[in-house]
Amino acid sequence: MKTQRLAAASVAALGLLLATGCTTDTPAESPDDEATTGAESGDEWFVQADYDEQLAQRDIEPEGDPNTPWLQAIEPEWIDTAEFAREGGDATLCFSNASVSNPWRVTGWITMQQQVAVLQESGAIGEFRVSDAGDDDDQQISDIQAFIDAGDCDSIIISPSTTATLTPAVEAACASGVPVIIFDRGVNTDCAVTFIHPIGGYAFGADAAEFLVDNLEPGSTVLALRILPGVDVLENRWAAAKQIFDGSELEILGNEFTGGDAAEIKNIVSQYLERGEVDGIWMDAGDGAVAAIEAFEDAGQPLPVMTGEDELSFMRKWEETGMTALAPVYSNFQWRTPIIAATMILAGEQVPAEWVLPQDPITDAELADYLERNADMPSLHYAKFGGEDLPGFPDAWRDR
């Protein structure tokens, strides 16, 4: 009796596993990446027009001084803001932040505060009021409402936590009559005076994928490491990469979700290495990139051609090992722009309706320069943070 029951339970468990397992092929047998993990989510996040636009924007020379990339704009459509002009300084800026839950946002947040300090010194900004929603949509909606209700914000800056859910809250902020500035992730309304963002996720993913295609022999194997499914900025990166990989001779072994956890990344890469060669690594964000490289070192395998991000831990490992790599960039310096934009709008100066900031990856040729400039910075700092000229540099970013 006992054994029968045991057998039944085991068969049930194993059957379930096999039944689900049969729907996908193992990566080794399947060069077609349609069959690999999570690939099905690639298409619903792909909009051909946006993809084409972003890829084209990479080659357009932005207007403005290249030494202050946070003030540059790609093909700006300047709009008049005279209606928002106000007399005197001491403006009250209200900033609703989605969160500071990852090193990229922490770095940007420090830069923003330093920019505010400069403008407070000059008298342009008086009070800088901030709420942090901790990645919670509902919290952010009430944060924005609180700013509206307070009635004394001269401008409301919003870094939305998600696109669709935050749209009504942003519309309410616009309706209150003060100039609204959106940056980083977008919303489904153009009621804001300006929407500030780097080129975008498609350009990021495409920069990385093109680098792998250019630097690997046809037939080489590539493993894609991703943070989470269902986040638009990350899904766009993968959708663009998939587009480019599909048109290449590279074999995509799989695309795996890691949660950005170094231990998980190292596990997954180690397991792929046990099963065969991995020639290239594509990542949708640089978190934990070093763990992926260490998996190759510990397995005694030659280092892959790799794309990470401009996080310093990855860039330092890249220099140390001399590997072939690229650091695609999701311009961190964009955190300065909204503050400057707010003071421009309140002074009645023109701003771009959609303020597209440049987004250039860091190549091998620029690596030494960026490492030199950020020599004092901690390893989870982003090289293109764009705050070197602010008075708080380097202490504010170093002693975070």
């Binding site: 596993l17 922490v106 770095t107 499914p229």
Partner: protein, 335 residues
């Protein structure tokens, strides 16, 4: 041959289910990838599984005495972040910082234990609170993301091992630490302390009436859990370095592992060896999912179904008369 009969008897025991499941999953992995059982890749698997196995042993002490420790994931994360910030790349600081971490692990366990036993706050609440306190405090201390870096010496335990061993390649230090601590845990459960712990989970009143210091034993269990989280932190940090997400969700994985090992939530039943085997089983399951390239969205579902099936099976086994006394349970299935 008695050995086989012995094994069969264990397999039909509730805590034995996990060993059968482990074998089945490993068989599945073998079918997908026979190369898994070659020395080096098996060693890599054990190296990567070691932290969870050690955490499972720590969690077992708490669960068997009738409590939960939900703070271990946050504690592992905190320990790695503390280590990175305090060491900051200086080799000479490795040992002092490890001592600080051990002291911190003991302190967290002691606070959990005393709040639970002296203030009579349910451990679920105590340790949930501790999880949040640690999570918030670490972010406050570091400004949201970890800083500093670990020294090479610190990373040795989790990343390296005895090199150039024939057949196996590398024997990871993490594996040796896991075996050492695992053996220690098995021995500990056979001492008077172990029996008191088991008895306090089974029937608190009876245990204290018979003169056992239930509160002291339970507090010690929390301290052991804090220590296991410290060791796990040292191994995980060593294995993969610092990241902001270290330890996220580990408390649920480890409680799942312990339950999969046939340990009853609420305490009083289960063996520490089976709890550790539960951790190995979970890690093997993750490996199998990777080998099968199972869609990431499907994995939690399959994982959940397997856990429910295994625990339900074990529970059916258990509905038959249990051994007469808790002490007998402890010795009848001495791990």
């Amino acid at each position: 041959m008695t050995r086989f009969r012995d094994l069969f008897a264990k397999a039909t025991n509730p805590t034995g289910t996990v060993f059968i499941l482990l074998v089945l999953i490993l068989a599945g992995v073998f079918v997908m990838n026979p190369g898994f059982f070659e020395g080096p890749s098996l060693m890599a698997f054990l190296k990567q599984a070691a932290p969870l196995v050690i955490l499972a042993a720590g969690q077992y002490f708490v669960i068997v005495s009738g409590n939960f420790d939900l703070s271990v994931g946050a504690l592992v994360g905190a320990q790695v972040v503390i280590a990175a910030r305090l060491i900051d790349g200086e080799e000479s600081r490795t040992l002092p910082v490890i001592l600080v971490m051990i002291a911190f692990g003991i302190a967290v366990g002691l606070v959990n234990g005393l709040i639970t036993t002296v203030l009579k706050v349910q451990s679920f609440i105590t340790t949930l609170g501790m999880l949040l306190v640690l999570y918030g405090a670490i972010r406050l201390w570091t400004g949201g993301a970890p800083t500093g870096s670990l020294s090479e010496a610190f990373r040795t335990a989790g990343r390296f091992g005895i090199e150039d061993v024939p057949v196996l390649g590398q024997i990871p230090w993490a594996l040796l630490i896991m075996i050492g601590l695992g053996a220690g845990a098995v021995v500990l459960m056979r001492t008077r302390f172990g029996r008191i712990l088991m008895a306090s989970g089974d029937n608190e009143r009876a245990a204290s009436l018979s003169g056992a210091r239930v509160d002291a034993a339970r507090t010690t269990a929390f301290v052991l859990s804090g220590l296991s989280a410290t060791v796990a932190g040292i191994l995980i940090g060593g294995y993969a370095g610092v990241s902001a997400q270290v330890g996220d969700g580990l408390e649920f994985t480890v409680i799942t592992a312990v339950v999969l090992g046939g340990v009853v939530l609420g305490g009083g039943r289960g063996s520490v060896l089976a709890a550790m085997a539960g951790a190995l089983t979970i890690e093997a399951l993750f490996t199998l999912f990777n080998q099968m390239a199972l869609p990431a969205t499907l994995r939690p579902t399959v994982q959940g179904a397997i856990i429910i099936a295994a625990v339900a099976y074990a529970a059916r086994q258990r509905t038959r008369p249990a051994p007469a006394t808790p002490t007998a349970t402890a010795t009848a299935t001495p791990s």
